[in-house]
């Protein structure tokens, strides 16, 4: 009995040893690759993962120059301050309005563009329109802002045009004027910037639709509009659904670049969004913990919205991203 136990033990250690040896040998054989991986892993840990852990300062009273370890834990105090501040409803309204308008117009626009481009018979024209359409995507937001000033400024093209045709007498301050036009301008600029680029993915989905379906549709007497509605659109539905789910994640990010450039003191009531608020309180005023707490709220809501949207489409349309 005892000897049998011994034997078993010995076998076990032997198996363990060989397993360990195998791992060792494997590491040795792959040593070159591991040597390349170690600095890369170290790099990504420092640059990307430490900042993620650094989000804990949202629950602390972190003071610049002080070590994180000696900072005082304050729990949810910063979150409470944010939710109770008079700025909160305004910021939420602006963020939701801007990102909502962006989805409302920015989401269907590339689908419509892709459908129309697909219906163009002339190949050269199609190529020309398509390649122009995604040019703005490759431009800096600063360039887009400069164009906005040029078009919508007090002496801009739009004002000049409206005055020449006698529609208005005095120039309208589209970029100021208490921010009345701000949401509209921001939405049109981001649609203008992104519509062409976003249509590429739909166009490539459309080209993979089986041409026989169209022939069959023609036999059944489907016109142009009807074949778009009954064949093309249902065929690209999975692409549309996946992109819609992903766009839900952006509903709380109205972006930082555009508001920093086009927003100004006059438009503040309409242009202050979560991202600019974080930027202002964090970088300009040095309220590091408070700013991080606000950003964390945004991140958590974004992730939960993607989950919710995914769940919804899974149930209703049987399509999901995971």
């Amino acid at each position: 009995m005892e000897s049998a136990m011994h034997e078993l033990d010995a076998l076990g250690t032997k198996a363990k040893k060989t397993k360990l040896q195998l791992i060792k040998r494997r590491f040795y054989r792959e040593r070159q690759l591991w040597f390349l991986c170690i600095p890369i892993l170290f790099f990504i840990f420092v640059m990307q993962y430490i900042p993620i852990f650094g989000d804990v300062i949202a629950f602390m009273n972190y003071i610049p120059g002080q070590s994180i370890w000696s900072s005082e834990w304050v729990g949810l105090q910063h979150f409470k301050t944010f939710f109770e501040s008079p700025d909160f409803p305004i910021i939420m309204r602006n963020t939701l309005a801007i990102s909502g308008l962006n989805i409302l117009f920015g989401f269907p626009a590339p689908i419509i563009l892709a459908l129309l481009l697909n219906e163009l018979r002339s190949k050269p024209l199609r190529k020309f329109v398509q390649s122009t359409s995604y040019l703005p995507y490759f431009l800096s937001w600063v360039v887009v802002a400069s164009i906005a000033f040029l078009l919508f400024g007090n002496e801009g093209v739009l004002n000049e045009f409206l005055q020449r045709f006698g529609i208005i007498k005095q120039p309208i301050s589209f970029l100021g004027d208490g921010g009345k036009y701000y949401w509209g301008i921001l939405t049109s600029l981001s649609v203008w910037k992104n519509v062409g680029w976003n249509s590429i993915i739909y166009l490539s989905a459309i080209t993979s639709v089986d041409p026989e379906l169209y022939d069959a549709g023609k036999v059944d007497g489907l016109g142009r509009f009807k074949s778009i509605w009954h064949i093309t659109l249902p065929s690209i539905r999975p692409t549309i659904v996946v992109l819609w789910i992903l766009s839900m994640g952006n509903i709380f990010s109205a972006g930082l670049e555009a508001p920093l450039l086009i927003g100004n003191a006059q438009t503040r009531d309409y242009s202050e969004v979560i991202d600019t608020y974080v930027f202002k309180y964090g970088l300009e005023l040095g309220n590091y913990s408070f700013a991080t707490a606000i950003e964390l709220v945004k991140g958590i809501i974004a992730v939960s919205l993607v989950f919710a949207a995914n769940r919804f489409t899974k149930k209703v349309m049987d399509t999901s991203i995971y």
């Binding site: 792959e30 360039v143 400069s146 040029l150 078009l151």
Partner: protein
Amino acid sequence: MNTSFAKQSPGGKIFDVCNVILLLVFGVLVFYPFINLLALSLNDGVDALKGGIYIWPRKLSLSAYLYLFQDSRLLSSLTISVMRVIIGTTTCVLSTGLLAYIVTVKHFSGRKMMRIVFIITIYFSGGLIPTYLVFLSLGLTNTFNVYWIPAMFNATWMLYMASYMESIPDSLFESARIDGASELGIFVRIAMPVCIPVFASIAVFSSVSHWNYWLDTVIYNSSGNWDTLPIYLKRMLLEVEALEQLRNPQALSERMRDLSPTTLRAAVTMLVTLPIFFVYPIMQRYFIGGITLGAVKG
């Protein structure tokens, strides 16, 4: 789709005509601002104040450009921008390419782990402030390095490059391995030359984003010592003092009296835009393949 035009019903023909008109209007809407900018930038500044310049410059003058190319601040931001594009793109393409190679070596036991570590960074990232604090403690703020070091490894581009490399027959790498080549050697001498198309497309993407990006200057390099060209333009657009400085009387010779903020802004905007116009045809050759590849891989 490719049925002949003759077969179309009248309704179909009307649809076609409307479609062409609609898309042409759209094309003009996209392109017109650049024509307007170009016309303004080439117009006499004082004359431009009268307005009414839409397509052609009314009184041709190169003074905006001449003035800009004598401005030392513009020249220094141009230099920094060019350096950023060159150094940033080279390091990004080489390191992301190496990473893509590592995660495609079939027998490497760590390849899945490496992939996951990077894919997580696409979905989760630290907040603005924690990232700023880390960069601050690493001594990256107020340096040129903050432009290229954080951008070295890009997880999305790693996926593009890896899926391209996976399409290459494994035997190519394996035979080199049997001949005793080192992994780094295989990457440089075999993977890179074979994958030139994907390296080129990532290089174009990376250089465009390095050329355009400006928020990192605002966040990390606000001292003004490392201003890039987009930041120069941003200052011209938003800071009244910047324009005043531009019109510093000492800097203006007799010939330069015909300047106005509008034409100067238009000229700087053109300077930021023109390089994109030039690489645009090259870009188009590559990026459509890239984005549809990403779509398939999800």
